[in-house]
């Protein structure tokens, strides 16, 4: 189908599911995860300030937009970030991101 992709999400407890994501409604991955009932604080509402939407990209990172300096600075400060880490609030998906696989890592408090 046009403008629908599938991404696979692994929750903190390892539970994995594939979700359908429309690419033409301009939602960030953080918003998509929240809409899919994942437990994410997103305290700052998408301004790359709180890092509670921290995800690890397990597959498909090359097709994602490059991180801005602000996102990288925030990721560098996290105790549990690695080279696959991104902030879900900064990720907007396109049809090229079909098959993206990520793991939720954001803190719950």
């Amino acid at each position: 189908m046009e403008n629908i992709i599938h991404i696979t999400v692994e929750d903190r407890d390892g539970a994995t599911q594939t979700i359908e994501v429309p690419t033409d409604i301009n939602l960030s991955v953080m918003e998509i995860l929240k809409a899919s009932a994942y437990d994410i604080l997103a305290t700052c509402g998408g301004m790359a300030l709180c890092a509670t939407c921290h995800v690890q990209v397990l597959n498909g990172s090359d097709a994602l937009p490059d991180a801005t300096d602000q996102e990288l600075d925030m990721l560098d400060t996290l105790p549990d970030a690695d080279m696959e880490s991104r902030l879900a609030c900064q990720l907007h998906l396109t049809n090229n991101n079909d098959g993206l696989r990520l793991k939720i890592k954001g803190a719950l408090q």
């Binding site: 604080l41 305290t43 700052c44 509402g45 301004m47 300030l49 709180c50 890092a51 509670t52 991180a67 300096d69 990288l72 600075d73 925030m74 990721l75 560098d76 400060t77 996290l78 105790p79 549990d80 970030a81 690695d82 080279m83 803190a107 408090q109």
Partner: protein, 334 residues
């Protein structure tokens, strides 16, 4: 002691607008904010960013909005305590409250309004064994006084600006500085990273990349930190102080201890009047939550208006509130 009708915790756009709405009802406000200036995150984090969803302004820069709001509330002569964090509330026998700050400032008020936005930014703590054991004496989440580390052996952990900058600075102060970062490079802050690499090459600091924190060890005093390297081998680094610098994350802080109903770091309120479960305490703006909540400045403004209508009965228990339009009555300054 400062005396006021309404004590507003948080001087962001919503807290400031509450002063206006309160002023129309002849209620005086005192605002207290942990930041040294008014404006909340608009002034602190994105003063130059344009905001597009303020009614009447197709686009307005965040700081301009705050400046305009300050002008709008000037007739109501709000007073401010800035740079102090509210630590506790004390309910008085007559139902009023004392709001007490970190610096001991006491504000006596009839109503408390929490307009705290994201909350207070507090240091993010790493996950390692025995952290609590040494937290009071040998673990430092921020560097307040660099001289404290003169001629000491220290371990700094983190990969952000602050960890890099303090590593560079303390290299000339401490006896031995070790910087631990869990990745094999620094993704941001290239200039600071270059300085750190250079210091490591010159042998002035120890740089341990791809190392993970495991535990702190010692006998009453901190003596060493236990790490693992990329090959999962144990690495023990002797140290007297541990400085984890993992940035700040927004937390509710002391507000969480006031007996208010909290859901995911936000205060539950009744949408009738944005009252919390505790009488005379309201929560408005980004810090509250209710079904359908949108974290928008304009929603906070609406919440401020309704809150004031409800708070009136505590400030003027013997008076009947009559609703008036500013177009009819104007703005009657204090």
């Amino acid at each position: 002691m400062i005396k006021t009708d309404i004590c507003i915790i948080g001087a962001g756009p919503v807290g400031l607008f509450a002063v206006f709405e309160a002023g129309l009802l002849k209620m005086r406000c005192h605002l207290i904010d942990v930041l040294p200036q008014v404006g909340g995150q608009l002034s602190e984090i994105y003063p130059h960013k344009p905001i597009y969803d303020i009614p009447g302004y197709p686009s307005i820069k965040a700081q301009e909005l705050i400046d305009q709001q300050m002008e709008q509330i000037a007739p109501f002569q709000p007073t401010f305590t800035l740079g102090e964090r509210v630590e506790s509330l004390q309910k008085q026998d007559d139902g009023s409250y004392h709001v007490i700050s970190s610096d001991g400032t006491v504000i006596h008020c009839q109503v408390v309004v929490i307009a705290g936005g994201l909350g207070c930014f507090e240091p993010r703590k790493p996950d390692l064994t025995n952290l609590e054991l040494y937290e009071k004496s040998h673990v430092h989440y921020m560097v307040k006084d660099p001289e404290r580390f003169r001629d000491k052996r220290i371990v700094i952990a983190g990969g952000g600006d602050s960890a890099l900058d303090w590593t560079v600075f303390l290299a000339n102060v401490a006896k031995e500085v070790t910087l631990v970062h869990r990745n094999d490079s620094f993704r941001g802050a290239p200039d600071s990273a270059d300085k750190v690499y250079r210091l490591a090459q010159e042998g002035k600091i120890n740089l341990l990349l791809s190392h993970n924190l495991v535990s702190l060890g010692g006998n009453g005093h901190l003596e060493h930190i236990h790490l693992t390297n990329k090959q999962k081998e144990n690495v023990i680094v002797p140290t007297e102080d541990f400085i984890p610098l993992y940035g700040l994350s927004p937390k509710l802080g002391p507000i969480a201890e006031w007996g208010l109903h909290i859901d995911k770091n936000a205060i539950e309120v009744d949408t009738f009047d944005y009252a919390t479960n505790v009488e005379r305490i309201y929560a408005i703006g980004d810090i509250n939550t209710y079904p359908g909540k949108l974290k928008l400045i304009l929603c906070g403004y609406h919440e401020a208006a309704l809150m004031c209508q409800s708070a009136f009965k505590y400030v003027y228990p013997d008076q009947k509130l009559s609703f008036k339009y500013t177009t009819v009555n104007g703005v009657n300054a204090f």
